[in-house]
């Protein structure tokens, strides 16, 4: 009798938990459906490939030309660039905090890292515009200092705390036996860290990088002020561009809801979400391979 009751209780609890998890995640599905609905006319009239590969964005011309290739490229450049800068810095700092920092320094550094998350993206945007853009203009004698690189720089600072926090947690969860074994064998700490600890923690670290990449792709306010928002296809990292998130934020408020322009912007939003999902899916596949190897 007692056994049955306990088992039932277990089933109910696990059902509630699974249910809650599923329902909350379905919220994303709900959002996707909403975006799809708002942008449907674009997909049915223009078609996926034309939308994705067209490089002219003039939605208010007659006939309207809507191709977001330049924006997709800008998004990848900005987010990829941000990760290029943030990953070594973030992981290096996480290793530093987890393994090497003297505890007094760590006690200062950790709140500092956390504080970076609290700085609103608007502030980053305006600081970037006021300080970074001006710096580029003066130092390199550029006509205007906005660029994808400037945006990447600021984005890197914005995502570093997420990388550090999650990577440090991943490192800390590696069993201490490995460290003890390393000391016992006379292996130098840096060697131990890079060859043993980091590989063991790499699943958590990769997860952190993926989260950061998603964040960088979707970040709006900072890139709005720093990327330049030109319509031309960006020629290099140091060129100006218009990432998808900036495109949406810039034009959505003044577009007329229900209009072709509005629908095109939602379509761009859907593309952004799908891009993030695709990146995440690819990384997850790689992670599963890693798990199987071990």
């Amino acid at each position: 009798m007692i056994n049955l009751g306990a088992e039932l209780k277990e089933k109910i609890i696990s059902f509630i938990i699974i249910g809650a998890a599923t329902v909350s995640s379905l919220l994303l599905l709900a959002m996707l459906i909403y975006i799809l609905r708002e942008s449907w006319p674009i997909w049915s009239q223009i078609g996926v490939s034309a939308f994705l590969t067209g490089s002219t964005w003039r939605p208010l011309n007659t006939p309207p030309e809507i191709g977001i290739l330049s924006m997709i490229a800008s998004t990848m450049w900005v987010a990829g660039g941000a990760l290029l800068i943030a990953a070594p810095l973030g992981i290096g700092c996480a290793v530093f905090l987890a393994e090497f920092a003297p505890s007094s320094l760590a006690a200062v550094l950790r709140p500092v890292v956390n504080m970076l998350t609290g700085i609103p993206s608007v502030v980053y945007g305006f600081l970037g515009a006021a300080v970074l853009v001006k710096f580029f203009e003066v130092k390199f004698d550029l006509a205007s200092g906005e660029s994808l690189f400037a945006a990447s720089l600021i984005l890197a600072i914005m995502v570093i705390p997420f990388i550090i926090a999650n990577s440090e947690a991943a490192l800390r969860s590696v069993a201490s036996e490995y460290r003890h074994a390393g000391i016992a064998l006379g292996v130098s700490k840096p060697y131990l860290t890079m060859r043993v600890l980091v590989p063991l923690a790499r699943k958590g670290m990769l997860g952190a990088l993926v989260l950061a990449f998603g964040r960088a792709m979707g970040e709006t306010m900072a890139v709005l002020m720093l990327a330049g928002n030109i319509l031309r296809f960006p020629g290099s990292w140091f060129d100006k561009g218009e990432p998808l998130a900036a495109l949406i934020a810039l034009e959505l408020g003044s577009s007329i809801p229900g209009s072709f322009h509005y629908q095109a912007l939602f379509a761009a939003g859907l593309v952004l979400v799908v891009m993030v999902i695709a990146v995440n899916a690819v990384i997850n596949l790689l992670l599963n391979r890693i798990q199987n190897e071990v």
């Binding site: 209780k9 277990e10 609890i13 696990s14 938990i17 699974i18 809650a20 998890a21 329902v23 995640s25 994303l28 909403y34 975006i35 070594p88 810095l89 290096g92 700092c93 530093f96 550094l109 709140p111 500092v112 890292v113 956390n114 504080m115 970076l116 998350t117 609290g118 700085i119 609103p120 608007v122 502030v123 300080v131 997420f162 550090i164 926090a165 999650n166 947690a169 969860s173 006379g186 130098s188 700490k189 060697y191 958590g204 993926v210 998603g214 964040r215 979707g218 709006t220 306010m221 998130a245 949406i248 934020a249 959505l252 952004l272 979400v273 993030v276 999902i277 990146v279 995440n280 997850n284």
Partner: protein, 279 residues
């Protein structure tokens, strides 16, 4: 232990990363203090905006209240679903397709531009459910925005608990829910709380989602669920875009950063508590 060249290079990498981050943040804080510190006084914190144009004088009290209400609501709305999902991912569904699917969904939510989250909540909450531009809608939008952050950090906190606890408990015949409730969760709570406070810092600074769901340029922010509220990042955005009072904008930014600093120091002390428990 012989120190090779590579060792020195690696150490240089680790140390310089840590110090560089420290320098960057201090530079940002110093810059904010330099440009806005002079304007943060008791009057600024406790009064409402006034002056011509609006915001050049007076204070930001309703914005502070509004931000606090918004993040409180975001917390209330996201903590149960977020925690449940994290528990599922770490305790119940470590492998398996549903878990992988949910994990993917959660990570992808992090990539949805916050303005689209805002518009979704606008369609659902503000219009269909008739809430209007309201604290409730803003809280929901922010809750959706921070949900992935809570899930990922809570899951990390749960996974960091020594596996032995679970193994010993199950070998003793203790039920899974008991293990979870009595053994795992209490040890993970400081870490989970740290993740929550990190997420709230993120929510406190978000502008785009509240712009279309909750924010007003001027409101009393009394905490009524169906009324618009003022909020610090939005007020900041208005001040900056109107170019009406750059000084007050920096001062507002400073207040917001200090608010988040306070939350994060709280998070830090709680997570170091977790460290001590885990060892």
């Amino acid at each position: 232990m012989k120190k090779t060249m590579i060792d020195y290079l690696l150490m240089a990498w680790f140390w310089s990363s840590g110090l560089l981050i420290l320098v960057i943040l201090l530079a940002i804080i110093v810059y904010l203090i330099w440009r806005g510190g002079a304007f943060v006084n008791l009057e600024f914190i406790l009064e409402s905006p006034s002056g011509f144009p609006l915001g050049t004088e007076g204070g930001i009290f309703p914005a502070i209240k509004g931000t606090l209400w918004l993040i409180l609501l975001a917390l209330v709305l996201s903590i149960v679903p977020g925690l449940m999902t994290a528990i599922y991912l770490s305790e119940y569904g470590r492998s398996g397709r549903l878990a992988a699917f949910i994990s993917l969904l959660v990570q992808s939510m992090a990539g949805v531009p916050s303005i689209i989250t805002g518009l979704f909540v606008y369609a659902l909450g503000v219009v269909t459910l008739g809430w209007g531009i309201s604290l409730l809608a803003g809280g929901l939008a922010l809750a959706i925005m921070v949900f992935p952050v809570i899930v990922v950090s809570s899951r990390n906190a749960l996974l960091a608990i020594d596996e032995n606890y679970r193994l010993v408990a199950s070998s003793l015949g203790v039920s899974k829910s008991y293990t979870l409730y009595r053994i795992i969760l209490p040890r993970a709570i400081p870490g989970i709380l740290a993740g929550i406070l990190l997420a709230l810092g993120y929510a406190a600074g978000a502008t785009a989602p509240i712009m279309v769901t909750a924010a007003a340029i001027i409101a009393s922010s009394s905490g009524a669920l169906l009324e618009p509220v003022m909020a610090l990042p939005y007020h900041l955005y208005i001040l900056f875009t109107e170019h009406s009072s750059i000084h007050h904008a920096y001062a507002t930014a400073l207040v917001l950063v200090c608010l988040v600093l306070f939350l994060n120091i709280l998070a830090l002390s709680l997570s170091s508590l977790q460290e001590r428990i885990n060892r």
